[in-house]
């Protein structure tokens, strides 16, 4: 069963979900690298948590309009809208007051999430709301996904990967040297806007796969792990993409075998495993090779007269 799932032989839906998760992971690793270099890691966490009220609202609106409320595309649109509101609120608090960005991030994260929980309890009391299965958006649930939903995730992941590929140069330039980027005609403000839009896209596509509580991990961990293998930003983007893609692929496979477990934590722990290996053993900057080099240099120095 494991090998079947690993080699994409476990049915059409499972295959599409696995491929979709892998594409999402690649996009998350690549976008996350730029985001970490631009020092925006925790803003993404606020955005991810801020999707919950949007998901709840979208469900209620769709039920009110006569639908069944579970259309993934509709829920994703609601999520994107409220994530955008969260981002604007972080910006508003830091512009209008003397509070630092971290306080604004924490406030938006907890208040929007609280509002989302209120929304979920409202839905639970609605007729037919009990079967909504919106809890799957908290920690991810890929097992038994509908064909249409899997298609949305795979398509969205592919578009996100393509966009990062197209926009990698301006984004990286701004991440490293906003002043120089400006002189060659790239507006840092616009590049940041594009970056946050990509982060939002990954977050929203990742809702069903990783869940909104942990999707930020898929953005950060592969990027930080890739940093140990290279000093070149262009390479870091794709190493992170590979790590994120592999962790998501394997996580989705494991999830088809253990459908009761939430998918998000599995994927995050796999990525964290790669991170730990990188931290210890990566040849360029890992802790063990660095210590060995240090010892060799000291031995040489002692040997010399």
């Amino acid at each position: 069963m494991f090998w079947q799932a690993l080699l994409l032989q476990a049915g059409y839906n499972a295959t599409l979900v696995t491929v979709g998760a892998a594409l999402l992971g690649v996009a998350a690793g690549a976008v996350g690298s730029v985001m970490v270099l631009r020092k925006r890691a925790l803003v993404a966490d606020a955005m991810a948590h801020a999707t919950l009220p949007g998901v709840a609202m979208a469900f209620m609106v769709m039920v009110w309009l006569g639908g069944d409320g579970r259309s993934l595309a509709g829920l994703m649109a609601g999520a994107a809208l409220s994530a955008g509101c969260g981002l604007l609120t972080v910006d508003w608090i830091t512009r209008k007051s003397r509070l630092a960005e971290d306080a604004a991030i924490g406030a938006v994260l907890s208040v929007f999430f609280g509002a989302g929980i209120v929304g979920l309890t409202v839905i639970q009391t609605m007729q037919g709301g009990r079967q909504a299965g919106l809890e799957g958006f908290l920690l991810g649930a890929t097992a038994g996904m509908l064909w249409a939903d899997a298609l949305v995730i795979a398509g969205g992941g592919a578009v996100a990967v393509a966009l990062v590929w197209l926009l990698r140069r301006p984004l990286l330039l701004v991440a490293f040297d906003p002043g120089f980027a400006e002189t060659v005609g790239i507006s840092p403000r616009r590049a940041d806007l594009i970056l946050m839009a990509l982060v939002m896209a990954v977050t929203v596509i990742g809702l069903k796969v990783v869940g909104l509580i942990l999707v930020v991990a898929l953005l950060i961990i592969p990027a930080v792990a890739a940093r140990f293998w290279t000093d070149r930003a262009g390479a870091m983007v794709w190493i992170a993409g590979a790590i994120g893609g592999a962790a998501s692929y394997l996580g989705a496979v494991i999830s088809t075998l253990a459908p009761a477990l939430p998918t998000g934590p599995i994927i995050v722990l796999l990525a964290a495993g790669v991170f730990l290996v990188s931290l210890l053993f990566a040849p360029a900057r890992g802790a063990v090779p660095a210590a060995l080099r240090h010892r060799r240099v000291r031995a040489l120095r002692q040997a010399a007269p």
Partner: protein, 304 residues
Amino acid sequence: MTAFLQLSLTPLLIGALVAATCALVGNFLLLRRQALLGDAISHVVLPGIVLAFVITGAVAAAPMLLGAAAVAVAAVVAIEAVKRLGRVEPGAAMGVVFTTFFAAGVLLLEQTDTSAVHLDVEHALMGNLESLVWFAATGPGSLIDPAALARLPSELPRVAAVAVVVVALCWLFWRPLALATFDEGFARSIGIPVTALGFGLVTVAAIAAVAAFDAVGSIIVIAMFICPPAAARLMTDRLGRQVAWSVVFAVVSAVLGYMLAGYGPLWLGAQDAVSAAGMIAVVSGVILALAVRFGPCRGAPRRG
């Protein structure tokens, strides 16, 4: 009156105590630019609590506090290690560590048979404030009846004890804490153990988070660590007054949020209450928004 005593008194008291305790610690975290540490800690304590449950096989306060505090300290060390070894910014280092710990906690929880006790992921997030009822109360007389008081939810004495400890610690270490917060270099130069103090603060925050977590869930903990102190910061330039404001805001959020969650839907014609934990967070957010818009000290600190 009896209904109020049975159903609402203990949740209100527990909510207000938890909110005030977290807000008190949150003031120092906010001023030390560690506002998100509260967020990180409340994610990180989950594996500690689950581990304590796996080892002892019971939902008991002391092992859970120990487990969570130990894991919180381990997380702080891990964040520091990732920051140094990986040479990444603090935000990303924190993100790596707390999401990993939380993911481990969730999987451990899902793998453990907790059907006999009230311990699951949703409970960890949202708590069960509404279920902390006091059925032994038969009327106002129960408030002085030892037999009835003995049957109060055990969460109440626990959060009260933690609140007392946190207040006592803040009072005891007020001056060194204030000095180390505002001018670390000067505090170090006059011999205050700044690093130890920082670790102490994190540990106290972890203890507050765990005690609160069991009763009210992590949303309230995160919201109360940040929103009331942040709103209070925009009301005054003086530390003492800021702490006082933050406690007032926290208690108002808890009481108003609980009331709105319980009675708000009834006023609107709906039947069921909504999540009190979520509503308390929302009210604290509204207070913060008002402070950002109208707070007398919302801009740069005044001189002179």
